[in-house]
């Protein structure tokens, strides 16, 4: 299955490896921060909704 990369195998494989690693890291970071901010916002909104309902 693996194509024969000849004497350039290292260059090609490390290009793919490094690029995919960077892309995955970027996507993971994006995802992770997105989920965290979404959760925090939900918390604060719930808290404030409770506060405004509770007070008056």
């Amino acid at each position: 299955m693996m194509p024969d990369l000849g004497r350039y195998a290292v260059a090609v494989l490390s290009s793919y490896g490094a690029s995919l690693a960077m892309l995955v890291a970027l996507v993971a970071l994006t995802w992770w921060r997105g989920a965290r901010v979404k959760r925090q916002l939900a918390e604060v909104e719930a808290r404030q909704a409770r506060a405004t309902k509770g007070e008056p």
Partner: protein, 207 residues
């Protein structure tokens, strides 16, 4: 010459802190602003001085008539008292430095570098700057911090003389300045009401 503020809203850090502020100030009048810590006095004064835009309402001030004094009083430590004042006088087209130093009791310190003044002496120098600008509207943020009692009285006298010359003054302060003729405006009633958080609305977050 008149300053008119109508229905003014001011914001700090993207949030409106005061709204519906309304007053008018004519030549010869002073207004003292009061309010608890964090109500927005500094924010209001910076808006009136033209350093930040108002978020609502109208603000009518004659152009180039306001001078502002905050905690940081724009003194250069390596310049002497006289040099500091002379600079601001020249920038504003030549006020009388000698007279200003005499009025704020700084004549003896005239050749002392600002670095070597005590906290209160520095403050006096900062206030003397108001006189050399020659501008009619003084906007002052807690001007008497770290002044002793004698200096507070001296300063009240200077403000009174300024009013008598047809000037105006807007002063935010926590202490009593002894300016009985000045009107007092409490800012607490103008505190902005928080809009109720409506679930899932993203619009008001950017107000």
């Amino acid at each position: 010459m008149e300053m008119v503020v109508d229905n003014l809203g001011v914001a700090r850090g993207g949030l409106t802190v005061l709204e519906g502020v309304r007053f008018a100030l004519a030549a010869g009048q002073a207004l003292i602003l009061r309010g608890p810590n964090g109500v927005g006095k500094t924010t209001l004064l910076r808006t009136l001085a033209g350093l930040q835009p108002a978020v609502a309402g109208t603000l009518r001030v004659p152009p180039e008539s306001v001078t502002y004094a905050a905690h940081a009083d724009g003194l250069k430590a390596v310049l002497t008292v006289a040099e500091n004042l002379a600079f601001w006088a020249e920038i504003h087209g030549g006020g009388d430095v000698q007279a200003a130093m005499a009025e704020m009791n700084l004549t003896e310190l005239r050749d002392r570098r600002a670095a070597n003044l005590s906290a209160g002496q520095k403050r006096r120098l900062g206030l003397a700057r108001l006189l050399v600008t020659g501008r009619p509207i003084w906007v002052l943020d807690e001007p008497t911090v770290s002044l002793d009692q004698a200096s507070v009285t001296l300063f009240a006298g200077v403000v009174r003389a300024h009013l008598a010359r047809g000037g105006m003054a807007l002063i935010a302060t926590h202490i009593d300045l002894g300016l009985e003729e000045a009107a007092v405006l409490d800012l607490a009633p103008f505190k902005a009401r928080m809009p109720v958080a409506s679930g899932g609305g993203f619009d008001e977050a950017f107000a």
